[in-house]
């Protein structure tokens, strides 16, 4: 009697989501439209089935979306039978809460935080559920499942509560809140394998498609209404897909022929750069795959 690693991870995440529903008065699930938040919302549906997910989803909309993201979002919410709240960075700009960045590399990534914190305060949420994973980058490796934030929404990495066994301490003072990360222990590979196993429908952006792109700082960026190449940046049509989905102005695409989950999994297995290092990975070679096969892995 032993669960597969995916079933064990699923069970752990469901446990965490149920703890959230039990321990907090007003939780909210942050939904970005990317695969990780799609996964978390899928797990939330499982955790409370046949009841509806007992908390809303919230999309912090940068306004710089690929149009596929929004149409996918609306379909997915209908499928989940969940409640969606949208708060937009544009509103924060209009209200003078934040100022738009200037210059060719302007992005709204940083501005999102203000919109988020304002929304948490406005709607009195005491727990925001996110799809971050510990394998994403060094700084996250120490993050807890239940991450305490003080009344200024700040995280103090030097003073986190120890987390032992499966006992999650969500006690807090008035005005404080928590960020909870149910898929902390999943790796990028686990996420893809599970999505395949569960047959979860994903936005088309993850699969190969032809798109007008140009290179900037070693990244392949898509031409959109929000982002146009500068004079020397040559626009070409290429077969690309996205490994992460975020603000259209700063999410790099990768050249790839992958048009199924199986293809993506082979690509992730052979990939030699992290998801976050969306630098053009020319270095990815047949040799890399060969090396791994020789070593007996992948």
């Amino acid at each position: 009697m032993k669960l597969s690693h995916l079933k064990e991870l699923e069970s752990e995440s469901i446990f965490v989501l149920r703890e959230v529903a039990a321990q907090f008065e007003r939780p909210v699930l942050l939904f970005s439209g990317g695969k990780d938040s799609i996964l978390v919302s899928h797990l939330a549906r499982k955790a409370f089935w046949p009841a509806k997910i007992p908390f809303p989803l919230m999309h912090i909309d940068t306004g710089h979306n690929f149009h596929e993201t929004i149409s996918y979002r609306d379909e997915w919410i209908t499928h989940l039978d969940a409640k969606l709240i949208v708060r937009s960075v544009q509103d924060s700009i209009n209200q003078g809460r934040v100022a738009e960045e200037k210059g060719p590399n302007a992005s709204r990534n940083a501005l999102q935080t203000v919109t988020l914190v304002d929304a948490l305060e406005e709607l009195k949420f005491d727990c925001a559920i996110g799809g971050a994973r510990r394998d994403e980058e060094k700084a996250r490796a120490k993050e807890r499942f239940f991450s305490h934030r003080d009344e200024f929404s700040q995280w103090d990495p030097k003073n986190q509560r120890p987390e032992l066994w499966n006992l999650f301490n969500g006690r807090k003072a008035v005005g404080e809140h928590f960020r909870v990360f149910p898929i902390s222990n999943w790796t990028e590979m686990d996420v893809w394998q599970y999505i395949m196993q569960e047959n979860i429908h994903l936005p088309s952006l993850y699969f190969t498609h032809e798109r007008s792109v140009f290179e900037r700082d070693g990244m392949l960026l898509a031409q959109t209404e929000f982002l146009v190449p500068r004079a020397h940046e040559k626009l070409t049509d290429r077969w690309v897909r996205f490994r992460t989905i975020g603000d259209a102005t700063c999410t790099g695409a990768v050249e790839s022929p992958a048009n199924s989950l199986e293809d993506i999994i082979s690509e992730v297995a052979a990939s030699r750069t992290t998801e976050r290092g969306t630098r053009a990975d020319d270095k990815r070679s047949e040799a890399a795959m060969e090396d791994r096969k020789k070593a007996g892995y992948f």
Binding site: M1, K2, L3, S4, H5, K7, E8, E10, S11, I14, F15, R18, E19, A21, A22, R45, K46, A47, F48, P50, A51, K52, D135, K138, A139, A141, K142, P157, N159, Q160, P162, E163, L164, W165, N166, L167, N169, R171, A173, N185, T187, Q193, M196, E262, A269, S271, R272, T273, T274, G277, R279, K283, R284, D291, R292, K293, A295, G296, Y297, F298
Partner: protein, 455 residues
């Protein structure tokens, strides 16, 4: 029970491993070709690492990550650059887990970080706790969910005081498998005699600790890679296998309790929809034994009985459920159940009690207040308790009981008697790590201050 676990120097204490467990697994498994289907079916193994500063823990984890091809090129390029900048001869694999090291050097509170790697057989979660004089709190945290502990020993120094502490914590936290890695064998001429000497030292030392640990010894060089992923060419006298192979094949199926059925209700599911009108399900995770539809169950602490109607998940009903599955249980009778109640079967129910005897590891700077009141969290049940007495402390270096000293500070381990405001369903920690563990919370700051194991 607690009285016998300490200060026992008598021969014959049960920590001495059975000879058969010293014979390392020699089963040669066929290399499975990577296939998507096979890969979906891996098992999960969680382990923690313990060692003193500079025993080579970061190097070992770096090597496991690197040699198992879990390091991406951009991460590797970054450490190559740093190694060059520092003028080091080799690429310093320890830099892969650099974050914590930097903290240590800056004298910041050291913490547990989690690392991930996978082979076609298993996915591994490593609780990485860097060596430090005062790091009991971190090792306890990392150990609480671990199936296995790697204890590192520097071949030049042999078993030292800290090794004893690490072995004690592994046993206190009931980590089922202990892998003692004698590291830096390259610095002792790959000597078999030295390895055997350290193994004997460890076995003698651990005879003081009452435990049923499954224990394995390996001679390695984390720096050069000997016996980490590949079997050593320098130590042919060691029959193998290498550490990674051992991690891939440790039998972990029975690490969880399979005999006493336990299910703590986490959340009551009530859809309130026309198509599920009278539906009432108890959501939670199995923490021991097996549940099946038709089983007669007892609900604690009330003691009511009922029968399992069905075990449900969104993917369909189940014929049985075992730990650590998250499921929803429906009962035949309309009993009054809420979060924190425990559903059990069989003739060995947990003790329903307001008096708890525990071993505690203190996690906070502010010492425990004897007579103080704390919030307590056990399974999905919350309550309050008062510390009635500090029965003794454990000198973690000599493993002797210290009586009469009731100051329990950061990193101290002590035996406490608690009185709770409401009954808890207590199992012995040695029977079930999930229903036998609890945390104490400071009611003023809401911080987790104590990790408790029920005796």
């Amino acid at each position: 029970m607690g009285a016998s676990r300490l200060g026992l120097r008598a021969a014959g204490a049960s920590f001495i491993p059975h000879p058969s467990s010293l014979i390392l697994f020699l089963i040669v498994m066929h290399e499975t070709e990577f296939s998507t289907a096979g890969y979906l079916d891996m098992e999960l193994l969680r382990f923690t690492t313990a060692g003193s500063v500079d025993d080579g823990k970061s190097t070992l984890i770096g090597r496991l990550l690197y040699d198992s091809k879990s390091i991406f090129e951009d991460q590797y390029d970054a450490i190559v650059a740093t190694s060059e900048k520092r003028g080091e001869d080799h690429v310093n694999l320890a830099l892969l887990t650099d974050g914590l090291r930097a903290e240590r050097e800056q004298g910041i509170t050291i913490d547990v970080a989690y690392r991930y790697f996978a082979t076609p057989r298993r996915k591994f979660i490593v609780a990485d706790t860097p060596g430090h004089i005062q790091y009991t709190r971190n090792m306890v945290t990392g150990a609480s969910t671990a199936n296995a502990a790697i204890i590192l020993i520097d071949a030049r120094h042999g078993v030292i005081e800290q090794t004893r502490r690490h072995a004690y914590i592994a046993s206190l936290l009931r980590i089922p498998h202990v892998l003692v890695c004698v590291n830096k064998m390259d610095l002792v001429e790959w000597s078999e005699a030295r390895f055997n000497e350290i193994r004997t030292q460890f076995i003698e030392m651990s005879a003081q600790i009452d435990s049923n640990l499954d224990i394995h010894f390996l001679p390695i060089s984390a720096l050069l890679g000997d016996n980490v992923v590949d079997e050593s060419q320098n130590m042919k006298w060691f029959g193998g296998p290498a550490l990674l192979h051992l991690l891939e094949t440790l039998p972990i199926e029975n690490d969880l309790n399979r005999s006493e059925a336990r299910f703590s209700v986490q959340y009551v599911v009530r859809p309130m929809r026309a198509d599920f009108h009278d539906y009432r399900g108890y959501a939670g995770r199995v923490s021991g034994g097996v549940f099946r539809p038709g089983d007669t169950v007892k609900i604690l602490p009330s003691g009511q009985t009922s029968t399992i109607e069905s075990i449900e998940t969104m993917d369909g009903p189940l014929d049985y459920a075992f730990a650590p599955m998250s499921v929803t249980i429906r009962l035949k009778d309309d009993v009054d159940i809420s979060r924190g109640d425990m559903i059990v079967t069989g003739d060995c129910p947990p003790l329903v009690t307001q008096d708890l005897e525990i071993m505690v590891c203190w996690l906070a700077d502010r010492p425990l207040q004897a007579g103080g009141k704390y919030a307590i969290k056990h399974t999905t049940r919350d309550g309050r308790c008062v510390v009635k007495s500090v029965d003794y402390k454990v000198d973690i270096n000599t493993l002797e009981k210290v009586e009469g000293d009731t100051t329990v500070g950061l990193n101290d381990i002590a035996r406490l008697t608690l009185r709770t405001t409401a009954p808890f369903c207590a199992d012995h920690y040695r029977r079930n790590r999930e229903t036998g563990s609890l945390i104490l919370i400071d009611e003023a700051t809401n911080v987790t201050v104590g990790a408790g194991m029920i005796l």
